[in-house]
């Protein structure tokens, strides 16, 4: 057992009444003359009272309890945990960018607007869509924008019979949740045993009530939807539109354009494909791309150019049929800037190479794991940028689950792959190595998986008790949900 880090108290437990960080507040203050007593706060909020050093040390120590791309191989399927180049952060954090107020006049913002405009153009090119709006703040908000545009499109044509959105059963949870937010009912389409959408079921499901379908391609099962043209035809003939969930764009960047596959509207996850950081949960950016017939409905603002070549924000005056604004300003500008910087460094050759090496890494890792005796969920298929391994045999005999494997991998110094998604594959690990990992890192992962399998065969308890070497042992989720403790309370 490796030495486990000591327990780091909460910042509130470091607090001492009266400790003030004077470097930050010595000269601040002033009378509250303008605020009558009745509107004033009676007792100060119980925020921690710590020194600057206390805070720096505490949050540095906490950081050391995290796995991250910068410290560990992180093959989390569907999440594209690739290296986040440091230059993207440094350059997006130049004072000229950070200091700009969001309501600044366009004439004072030509520098940032130029960057965003070029990003829009590059994303159009690489996806084959007619126009791009950068404003959605994550994949799910991109989905919302997309489905809201589908709705606006049908509404504008007076076609109000379309009440249903089709979603494959393997889809990410944000797809059905988004359809509901847009006022649609969700109909699930089953997947066939090859991992493709069940075409017969699709034919049976479409009709005059179909507003559209939300598809991920490569799908969440890590395979390319080969009959995409046929699917597009079926849905379009029924009068529905096709939505592309671009979470897996890394697999086909520059190889296949969603616009060419027949999609009417797409979102991209820049925090996946374009390497912006995940930040322990966000922020992301989920720009949407549209075909020509959806262009009038795009969310605002969009960066445009006037006759003189100057950049400006297009707003409701330029796009009166827009679905509206999805944030108070322009979405996650700083994230867009990071993606732009990354795209500049890659250039046209670099983008295609992403798909090449992401695919090579996934197929190599799949081949090695198969040779090591693991079962693939879709054995006859090529991996795209990711693939699914199923531990359903291990779950029966010797009796270890995907969760046990995942937790034990942490002890071996690897972040676990995605577990229990997609929901339709039992005991699955969805593994996405990404192009930025070397052969040596992948080989080490195979060794760890092999070693864990051997441990499982010898004594399942080794896995059941994992992890052993992390700051905490396995945590009790059930207690957390039953006895809600969502904030620290001072002991009375």
């Amino acid at each position: 057992m490796t030495q486990r880090a000591v327990c780091e108290p909460l910042i509130f437990e470091h607090s001492r009444p009266g400790r003030v960080n004077r470097a930050q507040s010595a000269h601040l203050g002033g009378e509250l003359n303008g605020i009558p007593e009745s509107l004033r706060r009676k007792h100060p909020p119980r925020l921690p009272e710590v020194s600057e050093l206390d805070a720096v040390r505490h949050y540095t120590r906490l950081s050391q309890k995290n796995f991250s791309i910068d410290t560990h191989f992180y093959p989390l399927g569907s999440c594209t945990m690739k290296y986040n180049p440091r230059a993207c952060n440094t350059l997006a954090s130049l004072p000229g960018f950070l200091g700009q107020h969001p309501l600044s006049a366009a004439r004072d913002s030509q520098g940032i607007l130029a960057c965003l405009w070029e990003l829009q153009e590059m994303l159009k090119e690489v996806t084959g869509m007619s126009a791009v709006s950068l404003t959605p703040m994550a994949g799910a908000q991109g989905e919302f924008a997309g489905v809201a545009m589908i709705r606006a499109y049908h509404d504008a044509r007076g076609d109000d019979a379309r009440t249903e959105i089709l979603v494959p059963d393997a889809a990410h949870g944000t797809n059905p949740a988004t359809a509901t937010m847009c006022g649609y009912t969700v109909r699930e389409i089953p997947t066939d045993n090859q991992g493709d959408v069940d075409e017969e079921a699709l034919k049976a499901a479409v009709g005059p009530h179909t507003a559209g379908i939300m598809l991920t391609n490569p799908s969440t099962l890590g395979v390319f939807e080969r009959r995409i043209h046929e699917i597009a035809r079926i849905v379009h003939e029924a009068g529905g539109l096709l939505y592309y969930d671009g979470a897996n764009l890394n697999a086909i960047l520059g190889k296949v354009k969603p616009g060419d596959m027949g999609f009417d509207v797409i979102h991209m996850n820049l925090h996946k494909t374009f390497s912006t950081p995940h930040g322990g949960g966000g922020p992301g950016a989920g720009p949407v791309g549209v075909s020509e017939h959806l262009q009038p409905f795009m969310p605002i603002p969009v960066v445009g150019r006037d006759d003189s070549g100057a950049f400006r924000w297009l707003d409701e005056h330029d796009l009166p049929q827009s679905i509206g604004r999805l944030s108070a300003h322009m979405g996650n500008t700083g994230i867009l800037l990071r993606a732009y910087i990354y795209a500049l460094m890659l250039g046209r050759e670099g983008m295609v190479r992403i798909a090449d090496y992401a695919t090579l890494n996934a197929n190599y890792l799949m081949a090695r794991l198969r040779d090591a005796g693991f079962d693939m969920a879709l054995p006859g298929r090529r991996a795209t940028h990711e693939f699914i391994l199923t531990l359903k045999h291990q779950a029966k005999e010797p009796g270890v689950t995907a969760m046990d494997f995942a937790k034990r991998l942490l002890d071996y110094g690897f972040h676990a792959p995605t577990t229990y998604f997609p929901l339709i594959i039992p005991e699955c690990l969805l593994i996405e190595p990404t192009e930025t990992e070397s052969k040596q890192a992948l080989d080490a992962f195979v060794e760890a998986m092999t070693a864990i399998q051997a441990e499982a065969e010898k004594d399942v308890e080794t896995l059941k008790g994992a992890p052993y070497s992390l700051p905490v042992r396995r945590l009790d989720d059930v207690k957390a949900a039953r006895e809600l403790d969502l904030r620290w309370q001072a002991k009375a």
């Binding site: 989720d477 059930v478 957390a480 949900a481 039953r482």
Partner: protein, 131 residues
Amino acid sequence: MSNIPSELKYTKSHEWVRIEGDGTVTVGISDHAQALLGDMVFVELPEPGTSLDAGEECAVVESVKAASDVYAPMTGEVLAANELLEDAPETINTDAYNDGWLFRIKLADEAELKELLDAEAYAELVAEEDH
């Protein structure tokens, strides 16, 4: 093998129904269903007085990894909901058929009882699903 008492009736969506003989029924989720869901952490129940249509979503049982809707097996009015579950949802795991009951309904149409599965038919359904 899950426990399927022969004196109860069942639905395809894994509710059990006990016919009380006074025009009311008691409803819960089967042992098979609780085992699939895992450790129960929260139960949302219909308020007494609510009228339900057969097949309507009327309660939610929640574990850490899943949340499942419970459907009204028959049409009627909710007479009582099991308040014990508010603080002890795990009762469904330990005693699905007795203390783990969810709600009682006053039936609007006793003929609907015919639609329910008996223990044998439900056992078959479960065996098929396990396959």
